[in-house]
Amino acid sequence: MESSVALSLQDIITGLRVFTPELMLGGGVVLLLIIGLFTNDIHKISAVALLVLMAVAYAQYLRDIPLTSEISHELFSKMIVVSNFSSYMGFLLDLGGILTVLMSWPYFLHADKLKEGLEQRRRFVSEYYLLIVVIVLGGHLLISSVNLLMVFLSLELISLPSYALAGFLFNKKSSEGSFKYFLFGAVASAVMLYGFSLFYGQFGTLDFRRDDLFATVPWSPLLVVSVVFSMAGFLYKIAAVPMHPWAPDVYEAAPTPIVAFFSVVPKLAGLAILVRFVIVSPYDNGNPAVMHALALISILTITVGNFSALVQKNPKRMMAYSSIAQSGFLLVGLVALSASGLQFMIFYSTIYLLMNFLVFYYLQYFELRGFTTIASYQNAGSKYLWPSIFLLVGFISLTGLPPTGGFTAKLFIFSALWESYSNHAHRGDQILLWLFIFGLLNTVVSLFYYLRIPYFAFIKNWESTPKTNILTSSPVAYDSFIGRSSIGNLLGLILVIVLLLIFFAPGLLMGWINKINFVL
């Protein structure tokens, strides 16, 4: 026993070198905790959080370089595997964290609107950033987990801070959002846990990566039950039908930066682990059950998300349904399950991160100026021309129209689906065709709600006198450089330029993604 302990300790110590970004995240948590003891200064704490996340992103980038397509590291007694897949996804999570911190800055400073709970919000600045960093850490661990225990723990590491963050507006609605999120999330993760326990019973191991895992065990009713239960947890994280009902309430109630964060970081992490999980299932063994189920979920998710979004009056709630629908589109890449399908899924994830943050950034921009319902965006276009145009670009990209990265992403992911339909193991499977048709036709539906805000901003009552309740309120007093709109718009401009650039030169991004292989 001593020798094996010594071996595994050796393993841990060698692993630490590859584990730098996660260690830095852990250090960041401690740092924020300590800083919170001494100061409540918004700028200092935000800057520290920003620096921590940037350093992590840089470390992640450094880690990515030596990871050529063949190398992956098994760490901590095969608890996690760092591959270039997890490395790239981790980089996306870091990026999401950085953008969230940048978005949160004005959210804390703003005092005119959202007055309720302001005092508490400012009291818990460091806790707020700490929870964000912990979620990023949880995401990092989740995307590299190959062990059921690690999956469970990292999911909880994402979920618990999420429940708290959803309530960080400290008002009535926010508490309700957090409450519903908690109830739904806790039940989903408990169900998933039960599925995991059944897995363990059948396979005798927590490592779900073994090649022969599903080959040794036939499809028994119990295996179906465990797959279904386990899926519940993953689908809940990416807000896919039928595990989506929490999303609208939480999105409406939570602070806008947090909503943007929720719509990207836990979703991408959940997607990554779903990929890992599905990729070991008997996908190519001639049993298309998993693929059929995923395709069905994808169709339902896209359709339910899009059609529910049509009737929304609150922009954030509409974006919740939009993000549900986008989950469906992300799943398309997984349904296509081919190397290119997964690569395009990663491509889509990247674009999704950028465009979603662009939209939420400007939704917050307008929210802080009193535009809280879709109808209230009347005349926004004439008063805030450039922000409205940037928002329009974001929405166009989410719809998937050229000339934005959103179009390229959709084109690629549906190409992969078509390719899978025409010459993969499931050649000619009709459900793929249905997914193809439903997915693309849903784009038409999505245009309606995505264009509603620009419609109000630019078209509705363009020349009529401004509604008094919006524009007579005093101009917003920003006491920081980042809150000033010219600097704030710089971030939006960068995102817009990147989105346009990716349309005209997708090779820039694909070149990086191409390196990723899916041995995982």
Binding site: L148, L149, F152, L153, E156, L160, Y163, A164, G167, K172, K173, S175, E176, G177, S178, F179, K180, F182, L183, A186, V187, A190, V191, L193, Y194, F196, S197, L198, Y200, G201, G204, T205, L206, P248, D249, E252, A253, S308, V311, Q312, R317
Partner: protein, 101 residues
């Protein structure tokens, strides 16, 4: 003690009762209790399965971590329930519904 099935049935039973409690009870704290039942159902499974796969003690270790997670969830959950209680003067999930389509 060759047959372990009865303990698995116990796990399944606890799971089903937990679901029933969560659905039926009109009180957030009761829902928390149901949640604990769900987690314990998994724990029973894990420990029992560890008997079958006795080479390593993965199952037992897992159940230890489940207990830790249960503690964390209960703490956060109770805090949230109390918070809701401050605003709504109720902890009935159905009555907490300002957010709607």
């Amino acid at each position: 003690m060759q047959n372990l099935d009865h303990m698995l049935y116990l796990g399944a039973f606890l799971f089903a009762v937990g679901i029933a409690v969560i659905v039926v009870k009109r009180n957030a704290i009761m829902v928390l209790l149901g949640l604990e039942l769900l987690l314990n159902a998994s724990n029973v499974n894990l420990v029992v399965f560890n008997r079958i796969h006795a080479g390593r003690i993965d199952g037992q270790m897992f159940s230890l971590f489940v207990i830790i997670v249960a503690v964390c969830e209960a703490a956060v959950g109770l805090a949230i329930v109390l918070r809701v209680y401050q605003y709504y003067k109720t902890s009935v999930p159905d009555e907490v519904s300002e957010l709607k389509d």
